[in-house]
Symmetry: C2
Subunit: 201 residues, 2 copies
């Protein structure tokens, strides 16, 4: 053990934990200690869960959701409304809408927002695939459930231009979503209200 450091194995664990969103260097150190202390109850199950996730989780080729099957369970679910596609930025937004239980249709995960300054253009998102899906005559409605941020709204604007000749009705979420807010931080009631009062673009 070098002066001032734990063993390399633990240092490596701390470094990786510190890269998780929400954990800084100090809390990563506490988490590593806690893991080692609770070897049977926490470290072992977490190691197994990560290995399982690594070996089983795939991205749905249809909608971009993550699941253990592709197409994902939502895309396979015959009871869902195939005339509606709800477009979200990230999988976390899809989860938020599913938790709220307010969407009967399918989803489309963009994988982010347009950001010319960061070099993120339409080809870096799944916009081409969305246009393809929208051309399917079965699809009647596209709901753009993007974050109410500048990036989210300019991406929504770009997408509705792209979808203009696809023969679909394009909706956005109602302004129940606080301006500047992010979907994943909202309560179920606000999400439900925003879906219910959706406005045609």
């Amino acid at each position: 053990m070098a002066r001032g450091t734990a063993s390399p194995e633990i240092e490596q664990l701390i470094q990786l934990l510190a890269r998780l969103p929400g954990l800084g260097p100090r809390s990563a150190r506490r988490a590593a200690l806690d893991l080692v202390k609770k070897k049977e109850q926490l470290l072992q199950p977490l190691a197994t869960a990560l290995a399982t996730a690594r070996d089983t989780i795939v991205t749905c080729e249809a909608c971009g959701n993550i699941d253990t099957v592709s197409p994902c369970t939502i895309c396979r679910d015959e009871t869902r409304d195939r005339t509606l596609i709800c477009v979200v930025e990230e999988v976390g937004d899809l989860w938020a809408l599913e938790r709220a239980g307010v969407l009967q249709g399918l989803y489309h995960v963009l994988g982010g927002t347009l950001s010319p300054l960061d070099g993120i253009g339409p080809e870096d998102l799944t916009i081409g695939k969305l246009v393809e899906r929208a051309r399917d005559p079965k699809v009647v409605e596209i709901l753009l459930a993007l974050n109410a941020t500048v990036e989210g709204q300019s991406t929504a604007h770009f997408i509705s231009d792209q979808l203009a000749d696809c023969g679909v009705a394009i909706y956005r979420l109602a302004h129940g979503v606080p301006v500047g807010g992010e979907l994943d931080y909202l309560d179920d009631g606000t999400l439900a209200a925003a879906v219910k009062a959706k406005k045609m673009v």
Copy 2:
């Protein structure tokens, strides 16, 4: 995928991540998503690091430190001052002192503090083993580096009583440590000052 939930494999991962100190349910969900998104760069290395920690990390039979060898690297280090034993509550405190680089001696990790209300008595900590170590004629000085909390100080008081006839000089950290503060939260300078101005008990 059940309504409102991710796949069982991801739910399991979220549940376990939420048990790490510093991560609540929401940040555990974000962390899980981030892990799945960064499979090669984060999920795979973290799974490996956890498996390595599980298979290699042991508790030092001499001092209670955690390392890949027992006795630990500190206990094996022949350049360290074997006349001094620094007593700490937890391994995290040992790490804090090592990071500050202010201790030339060995350590002794108690594994907590006395807490009669929680049913934690002397036999639940490594106090007996400490008394045994203190009886070694080579040991001249015991530094009680416990937290400046009520529990830490009453445990220190109990230990100095136990060590009374061991023929060692007993020290506590100087009152550079803020009253009510915990070692692991202090900066190196404060720790160094506290060690330097140590007071005889």
